[in-house]
């Protein structure tokens, strides 16, 4: 499992987030991804490498092509992190409401 920092770094790039969004629709070969983003293959491959190291995509060789598949599991770390502070304040705002109600 990749370190949490790698996952954050991986999704810090809008291009990589878009790649993940595209892969939600199904596996794609590199040339298809490159065409979708009007980028060179090496540039797309570089982004895919970062995603692969974060554990967010897996690679499979099909004939002469490499196909990429989404593996969303590492994103749970981000979900937990992002939800933490919103939940913290919602929880404590409720506690305040209860405190004020009981001190009537």
């Amino acid at each position: 499992m990749a370190a949490a920092a790698d996952v954050f770094d991986a999704i810090a790039s809008p291009v990589r987030r878009d790649i993940l969004d595209l892969l939600r629709q199904g596996d794609r070969p590199v040339h298809d991804l490159a065409a979708s983003f009007a980028m060179s293959r090496p540039a797309v491959s570089q982004h895919l490498r970062v995603l692969r190291e974060a554990g967010l995509v897996t690679e499979e060789r099909v004939g002469r092509e490499r196909h990429y598949r989404l593996d969303a599991r590492p994103l749970r770390t981000v979900l937990d992190w992002a939800g933490h502070y919103a939940q913290f304040w919602q929880h404590h705002a409720r506690l305040l409401s209860e405190l004020l109600a009981e001190d009537g």
Binding site: D9, I11, D21, W81, A86, Q90, L96, L100, A101
Partner: protein
Amino acid sequence: MAAIEVDQFLPRLPGQVWRALTDPVLLARWLMPNDFQPVPGHQFTFRTEPVPQHGFDGVVHCQVLDLEPPRRLRISWRAGPLDTTVTWRLVAEGTGTRLLITHDGFDGRDPGQQTVMGILGGGWRGHLLGNLRALLDQVPGQGAS
């Protein structure tokens, strides 16, 4: 700037809510033990359980930045890697008060924070949490719910 905003209706007048925000004993009852004083510039801490995986030792270092009774209180909020601010605004509403909590300033030096807050603020087509849940729901046995 990206921020977390929480909005809670409270069944008490702003003066009473203000007391719960600025009396250290009351503040401890709904938030955390503290040595707060309602004095601009006062430095204080909140103390809670450490969260080692987030680099947090359990101490929130704060300073009173703005104090405008009974309408607005703004404090700095430094906890582990976070260097943020928290603002409480009180708006009279009928027989009660609407409390608006804004926790912002997450766009510090840490790229992870920038990313998450940028996305919470509308980066990933506006719906990070929805997007992440949708992605995780596609993984068999790994649903977010």
